[in-house]
């Protein structure tokens, strides 16, 4: 079912417009090659910048935390706040965590090359990952990461064309690994429940998406690699 969400009306409108725009003036093959190359170079440059900015922000986060630790040593008032702050940091996904849990695996299947099958059911969709994450939260997960990207309050899964993006345009590609900390049995029971992610399980049987899960005694989850900006919401009262 969630496959259909991937072909939502809005996506089609936006993408359709973009496609129309790109195709409105056919370019000669040589120009097209040059344009394709330029577009891909832009992506490479922007992804380099993206990685650099995340590394810088991670470094700044570490500096902020070190300064706060130092402040707590100097001030009892800070010391009292600091314990609460550390708790909130953990909840927000700003701290690396480890523990027992479940690893869920998934990859694109084989293209059936069937002209009658236009479902793209053999590919992993962002909604598949979102659904797995959703089931894991509902099964008591305490923290989750997808391909090393921590799920945090600002996390949104979405498509940019065929690309699956999360957390500041981090591009996910297969094989996909969803790691969740929590009671491994409860998490496994949640995922194996026939009512959960039923459509994905059906596609897995048809297309061989490698959908499987593995209990672990010690999984490691990285911290989120940036921070949260709150500009509009104010505490009430």
């Amino acid at each position: 079912m969630t496959v259909l969400a991937s072909v939502s009306l809005a996506t089609f409108l936006v993408t359709g417009l973009a496609a129309t725009q790109f195709r409105s003036q056919p370019l000669p093959p040589s120009n097209r090659l040059a344009r394709d190359e330029a577009l891909r170079q832009s992506v490479n440059q922007l992804e380099d910048q993206n990685r650099t900015l995340k590394a810088r922000n991670q470094g700044l986060q570490a500096q902020v935390k070190a300064s706060e630790d130092e402040s707590a040593n100097r001030s009892s008032a800070v010391q009292q706040v600091k314990a609460q702050l550390d708790d909130q940091r953990v909840i927000a996904g700003l701290m690396a965590l480890h523990g027992p849990g479940l690893t869920v695996l998934l990859h694109d299947g084989a293209d059936p090359n069937d002209p009658a099958d236009k479902s793209l059911g053999w590919t992993v969709h962002y909604q598949d990952l979102q659904d797995i994450v959703n089931v894991l939260w509902a099964s008591g997960a305490e923290a989750i990461a997808v391909n090393g990207q921590r799920i945090v309050p600002s996390t949104a899964f979405h498509y940019a064309g065929v690309n699956i993006l999360v957390n500041n345009a981090s591009r996910l590609s297969g094989p996909y690994t969803v790691s969740a900390l929590g009671n491994p049995s409860n998490l496994a029971n949640g995922i194996s429940d026939p009512d959960q992610v039923a459509e994905l399980k059906s596609r897995n049987r048809i297309y061989g998406l490698g959908f499987s899960w593995l209990r672990g005694t010690r999984l490691g989850l990285p911290a989120y690699d940036s921070t949260f900006l709150v500009k509009y919401a104010q505490p009430l009262g």
Binding site: T2, S8, V43, D111, A233
Partner: protein
Amino acid sequence: MPSHSVERTARAQRLIVVSLIAVALGFLLVVQLRSQAAVARTLAAQDDTSVALLINDLNRANNQLIQQGAALAQQEAQLRQALTAGGADVQGIQKELVTLREVNGEVPVHGPGLQIRIQGTIMDFELQDALNNLRTAGAEAIALNGYRIVSSTPVQSHGNSLLINGHAVSSPLSLLVIGDPEQLGPAADLSASSLQTRVQVDIQRQTDLSITEVVTPRPLIYAQLGK
């Protein structure tokens, strides 16, 4: 089980509706994606539309990362300044605590944003898509029919019921979102355009709306600090 068959029937009906829309509007694109998606998520093999959309998202994300970096640098400078002066930036640390409690949905908040009213039944994936769009547009706090929604809040369908953290919510749905209305508006319109074929969606900008609901943090029993 009867409820499961009802759920399957409802899902099947929606499948047909969404399929028709998708086929009508996206036929060419589906063909394009199908032929090129092999699955061409490696950059070299992607279609131009995908690459263009990726560039757009990367630009937006990088601008956000620059803003986040500037905020962290300022925070660090203030902490360092207080330490150099022999004290501690208690106010700055308290402010950060408040910010994180807002982010985690643990305090009531108010601010500008949108009230989105939905008359009719929607499925979990439809709400989740709307939440994704709104978060990408910078939503800072979200609540639906009296339940605060954060990223760890399970959104599920059971039959025609929409469950938020296990609690059923029913039509009319009132989705409250705090953030920059200029950014949230187009994101809400995007979601509404896909929903409006079946349900009535009304989006209103608000200069100041309140979200009083909070989430209780789940205790960490299994997770421990450190990699």
